[in-house]
Symmetry: C2
Subunit: 308 residues, 2 copies
């Protein structure tokens, strides 16, 4: 079980080398990240975009383009189409956003002919290494699914469990969060948390242990869980996965911890046929590299499962 991004990066470097296809690659931050990913042995890249612009940035950041495949496509929509097709056709293992609007990038992911639809709903997973927690935390959904229904939540759990497994976290503990830890009919979030627990017990949600509703302290702080006398629960401050009732709760906590706690993180879009790296401009270089390491591990796990 990996407990840090250093371990995840080392693990990603140890598996069969993966390849990332970058849509509209002429972005300095993104090129710095794929350069580091190559240097760390995480992944090689195919850079699809404006070759002149890519060359300019590469020269600036000391990136030797002889080590990379560059495909010259000036139009951004066409570049994304070309880049996602490389993953769709198995010529690359994962797909990364460059200098293109999120909306257009996602359109390419969802393209019926060359995209990465898997038949399952997409969701976003954020992985945290955080001071005060002795294992990795997997947060979902803080960025993609606004108001998940019960079914959506079940799918978010399934998607996230796959990411956990790729990171070596087996049978993860999943905490559907709420303000309280008891079911209250006036709080639908708590009712659904309990339903998810039941769906896990009857096998509808497999490969994990679901226990909810849980407040954040009962989910993540063993001390607080003991202090509050949480007996007979399956999760006692040792959750791996934090499931949020909606995007507002998830995003507000995510940003709170990124800015005010001591956190390293990486993110992926999952539920796709191959891992999708959709970091934002405000994400640091480190977050982008961490996300590439996550993507490589998930791609490796998908390949192994397909070969079973």
């Amino acid at each position: 079980m990996s407990k840090s991004f250093d371990e995840l990066v080392a693990k990603a470097a140890a598996v069969e080398k993966k390849k990332v296809s970058v849509a509209v690659a002429q972005d300095d931050e993104v090129l710095l990240a794929v350069k580091a990913a190559k240097e760390k042995g995480i992944a090689d890249s195919i850079l699809v975009g404006d070759a002149d612009e890519i060359k300019k940035i590469a020269d600036n950041i000391g990136m030797n383009l002889a080590d990379y495949e560059v495909i010259d496509v000036k139009d951004k929509i066409e570049a994304a189409h070309e880049a996602v097709k490389l993953v769709h056709d198995g010529k690359a293992d994962m797909y990364m956003k460059g200098l293109i609007d999120t909306k257009d990038f996602l359109k390419s992911v969802l393209d019926k002919e060359v995209g990465l639809r898997s038949g399952r709903p997409l969701s976003h997973v954020c992985v945290f290494e955080m001071e005060g927690v002795d294992h990795l935390l997997f947060l979902s959904d803080v960025a993609f699914v606004p108001y998940p229904t019960l079914d959506d939540k079940a799918n978010i759990i399934r998607n996230t469990v796959e990411i956990c497994e790729a990171c070596g976290v087996k049978n993860p503990k999943v905490a559907p969060l709420a303000a309280v830890e008891v079911v209250n009919p006036k709080m639908p979030e708590t009712v659904e948390a309990d339903q998810l627990r039941q769906m896990n017990e009857n096998g509808e949600i497999a490969g994990c242990i679901v226990d909810g509703p849980l407040s954040l302290d009962l989910a993540t702080c063993p001390e607080a869980a003991k202090h509050k006398g949480a007996t007979g629960r399956k999760i006692v401050g040792d959750a791996d996965v934090l499931l949020f009732p909606n995007i507002h709760a998830g995003n507000i906590l995510y940003k709170g911890l990124v800015h005010f706690a001591n956190v390293k993180n990486g993110n992926l879009i999952t539920g796709t046929a191959a891992p999708v790296i959709l970091t934002s401009r405000s994400d640091s270089f480190e977050v982008k590299v961490n996300s590439l390491a996550l993507g490589a591990l998930v791609a490796d796990s998908l390949k192994k499962n397909a070969n079973k």
Copy 2:
């Protein structure tokens, strides 16, 4: 403008000495806190509850009961009734929960004859001194109002602005939070945030500056706000008040920051005729003392406003 709890405590000690009435005072943690409050010059206390039990605990913690008024009422409901009446009748300035269920304590607060109804809706305010933010943050509502309507949110802002003013924070900046910083008709939280901004502009919500919807980083991190190019906004990472769309979002962030960031905090119930201190057993000694200091400052501010 106070920027730390040390300053708030010093300020509370400097104003006319206040008195707190404690309902069912036979609780070691609560007695330790009122003892510290007396020693720091924050407040004297009237201890209503089982006098024998109070004596036992006092002996244990080196508390000289000669310095306190003790009213012997064995029954918990009656003790709360007696304790809240002292505040209602002006014999004490604030009301604190001891060893009594929250539900029963709140019933006494809301009692039509001897309670502390002000005609305004109640809400909860949590004050944070947090590493990485150079001023106090006022969070609401993380504990009391589950799903505030637009009107409720307006009242929560009004209640919270009073607490800000009592802490010396004039014309506070109020950020109605969401996952995003643009109005999206599919996200009612963002629509209501914008409506609150309008209500502030047309004077319906006065004494503060409301700007929303805002994501947490735009509300609290000047760097992030600048990085994202937040131009033409009234809040650029310098919010004083964080307004949550609902209790789940608020409570999850509150617990995340308390456990994983470097935070000092204190809490009050407000919207009442006098400040109400409702800390939980899991709150530390420091949180209880900080809450008493907040209560003393708010009581002082209410007195000054009444005398105007």
